[in-house]
Symmetry: D2
Subunit: 356 residues, 4 copies
């Protein structure tokens, strides 16, 4: 029997990506769509200004959008809510007993909340047991900011092998990272904007938590110094990042490339349907990766690395590309849910639930 | 009386920019246009596939294009030649007694050839006296690669004030930097290409020479470690660069910003018409500079700096923007010529010269 | 003495273009800026999210923004107001005695209100005398929609010479025509949107009024059948239009081109500073006009025509390009004001006016 | 047993699309790749500057590229050759007994050569029997120009139902239509080019042949007057066309839309794997179709129609979108081959063939 999924913020850009990616999912089936009061009571087709390349799945298009309030007829919820409302709503669902797999930033840095990339820190899900939502059994799990994911996926094997002392990253981020309508075409056509509000701080704090160590007291952040300069570029999907690292145990560029190319995912063999067969691909062609050509690799879940070279200043440098709305948002959250399910943390809710 | 100018490679992208920028110049007047044999014998209007936004100046449009061989009826030549032919042709003109103000890369790193940014190293023109082109009186002066200029303009005041130990730079370079037809639209539309052949090495070696010290033995390169990652982005004009520096005498971001903002050009008061009043502008608005809005500041000759902040990894970071075909190519060469003229190094050739 | 100008909707995209174009205007000087209550009481620099390539003129930047209510300390007002509020506010200013030179659509089709392109129907300003705003002496004059101007400028000489029975037009319209933030980058990057709300109807009704005949009863619309298909394309400025016409007196493509190229503006010799010397330029190069290269011709006021050829279906076809925010909005309104001033219809208001 | 396919011009943009689309084809398997002498003798991976979004299929990547001369080890050839060489080479293959399914323009208007869109004029393949290539059994079949296909697919049901007297078309064509490297990014970024050499004439003559009637004397062209204005726009894939038609038997827009929406393909039930289930989709949403969203409908083989409305000048107007490198080139040729195979016109060559 499929696990029943609700989507909070279903009409927004992230919500639409959830709907698109869950179409045909072998485990999860959408049974509830929730959005703002303005959308509630309309069909999804009416309420969502659908911007995706694919069509709205027929079954979903005719579903009625509900308010973002418990109860919803589902076993857990994905949240694509805007940060301005996610705090309250996600908390309410956790208190009502729902697992909340959230893409919002609100709870990411909470001590008891896992900030999760399944290939990087699957054990951090143990934090769930420390959450207390009034004994409801609900909990919250988050995925990182879209620009953090690619960086951390590339740093993980380096950190394991050599220790990363410092990482310097300059991003070239895609438009879809800003949501919809997001960036005005008048601002970005033929232009670069060297500023994305709040992004640089998130890349630093989230990276340290993701690479951190689970202790009695919570997650001990990794001792990695991060410096980020975030830029918006006229690209639709796919965040490029130019990364230079200072390693604790010095390594050549070739050794670094090998360690990334041979990264063994802890998910191997678990049969998670969204997990890419090869989480990291290392290109030898010096022109690659490129966002328009490689963002969709592995269904948008593979991270592409290229140009691994000596950095005269910091040691080793490379570029990394990841799909910001799939690996960096909805797809990452779905993979989180698949891991939680494999760990037995998602259960079918048996109590009667009233549909709003 | 105006100084008579010849343009080598007049029909190419750089050559066209020379023609455009020299229209109405108070000192220099174009009297000779030279290009490949294919163009020779045609009017400039026929020979040049004019790509500029402005029209071809009427007077120039009807001039006859000549071969790139001495003699040309002019007092000195600008060279916008492609590197594949610039070595031989520029040498031939120098041996024939012409000052050659070149944008090509061929002679930049020659010990006796000034690699010149007038605001940065005007004294390097003393190298001219060491050149020997068979006693002809000719010489060659070069300007740096388009991506080097902005970096070095920003580093110069920091280097003078604090000493730059290392600079880490990630570029977001405009399409016009690749010439015409240059980058295929199919490659770059909605995309980023993380590779520009040869560019990264040039940024390192040229920067060290530009910031170097003139000695008896030539230019002693500055002891600055450079690491560059060069990217092509879908922007028409204006190279953005994200720079992090390690300073020898530590300075705060505010001190660094002040030093750049208060940079006093050695050209001040010399009345060079192409020299921007303020060579460096430091923005406080965190969204600026942006290539489409600020590349043309100061007629394309002002360098824009913004986002000066602490860099947790290297010390101080900022972004810098400069116009790649003006400050970074033809405009830079014209400013070089204005400086040489002010130094009395450009003289009117009085011998009779036969027009080809 | 300069004529004192107020700008209604000064902080919006059209208002900003007014501010930009009026900087240094020989006749008009901005003495009042008005915008929504949210902006009132702030300096213009604070209130306007300035999006132009040029900087805010210093004098204007520090002016205080007022509410859009009479009285304002000025002799007449330009209106860059959004249609949702322009009706009431412009009416209020007319009733308070101000000439209102409006870019909004609200009053364009009113029988007593001139819809004005100075080169096309300068005599329509006679309608002003028929307006009655309670004896205030105020009046309203409008300019057409940005996509109408280029079409009508090209049709005018054809209509005079041969009579235009029908015009079929397909537009490729620039992003700035939608205002700011306007079109989302996610919608238009690498895309075409074949729909612009309300645009096609405006092109038909406005064209007929502009080419119409002034009679006792108002403007008798020209008997021209118009069919428009309006598309948005990823271009910043400059509306391209592919036009085919059926002429009443058949003419060859060459004759049509000649008639457009030799169009004599009724403004010739009047010394209007915004009027382009040649209102219409006809290109022979089959690749031209192009929006990025030619939209700014004549300071954005010249209309470019090209590819004049036989149309096997309708008779003659051509493309026409005009700058949508200059000729098609603020620049057109300024030229309207210059004409009205030359006709003696703008007078210095001598009564004391209290600044809000 | 699969039918063995050779690809002429395999390394070019069209050739690459053949390789991409034939990967996994149920009937056709690539057994020979041929290109210019420069490529011959290299592996396909070395010879092709692969520009596609997908990877080169592994099996093909290691195949050796041969010269474009018979014999090749295959049962028929697809030709993606440039027109400059296609005439001679395709003729040579036909004379050597190969069916040549060509995308080049050289033979399209030859009286005995079918210009074929399977849904439009499948019976025109009867012309094959009239070709004489020295008794070799070889023949040539062509598909139309990329901008013709969408137009004719939309006109076909209208022509059948009402008769099309005249069609006026303005195109907004994608960059990939110009091949690779094709259009310079400096020419088209943020721009429109109102000229595509030779395109307008092809749209007229090809449309008349495609809608024409097979007679003893060849194809009697349809009596349809065509006027085309072709524009290049900054879109990657998908030609948009704004079409207005004058019908012989007047019809309302609704009737026209119904006729297009209910078009019954003559291929229905034939099981051709490249044939889209619904060859024409008619959108009701006035914002659609759009190239970036709908070009890939039906695997790039479905033609999208929208905005069907009355045209005040010609009767009915609409927009039509088709994928220019799939439906308009390689995909169209593959569908041609599938039809020919279903008609029994492709046979396995049993003679021994020597591989070059």
């Amino acid at each position: 029997m499929p696990i029943r999924v609700g989507i909070l913020g279903a009409t927004g850009a992230v919500g639409q990506t959830f709907v698109d990616l869950l179409d045909g999912h072998p485990l999860f089936t959408i049974t509830a769509l929730a959005a703002s009061e303005r959308s509630a009571g309309k069909t999804y087709r009416e309420a969502a200004n659908w911007i995706g390349g694919n069509e709205i799945p027929d079954r979903v298009a005719e579903m009625m959008v509900q308010s973002c309030k418990p109860v919803l007829d589902c076993d857990f919820v994905f949240s694509g809510l805007d940060a301005s409302v996610a705090g309250d709503i996600e908390g309410a669902f956790a208190r009502a007993g729902y697992p909340v797999i959230s893409n919002a930033r609100n709870y990411r840095m909470e001590p008891d909340v896992p900030l999760l990339i399944p290939e990087v820190n699957p054990g951090h899900t143990a934090l769930i047991g420390r959450q207390d939502w009034g004994g409801s059994g609900g909990f919250i799990v988050t995925n990182p900011n879209c620009s953090t994911v690619g960086l951390v996926m590339a740093l993980k094997p380096l950190h394991d092998a050599f220790g990363v002392a410092a990482a310097h990253v300059v991003t070239l981020q895609a438009l879809s990272g800003a949501g919809y309508p997001g960036v005005s075409s008048l601002d970005i056509m033929g232009n670069v904007i060297p500023h994305i509000g709040g992004e640089e701080a998130k890349m630093a704090t989230e990276t340290r938590k993701l690479l951190g160590t689970l202790t009695e007291a919570g997650v001990e952040p990794a001792d990695v110094t991060i410096s980020a300069q975030c830029n918006r570029v006229p690209v639709l999907d796919g965040h490029m990042e130019c990364v230079s690292v200072r390693l604790k145990a010095p390594a050549s560029a070739e050794e670094a490339a090998n360690v990334m190319a041979s990264f063994e995912s802890p998910l191997a063999g678990m049969g998670l349907s969204t997990a890419p067969e090869f989480p990291i691909r290392v290109f030898e062609d010096e022109r690659f990766p490129q966002p328009r050509r490689h963002a969709m690799a592995g269904g948008g879940m593979q991270v592409s690395v290229g140009k691994v070279r000596e950095c005269p200043v910091l040691g080793v440098k490379f570029v990394v590309l990841s799909h910001n709305t799939i690996r960096g948002a909805a797809g990452g959250a779905i993979l989180n849910a698949e891991l939680l399910n494999a760990q037995g943390r998602l259960v079918r809710r048996t109590e009667a639930v009233a549909v709003e």
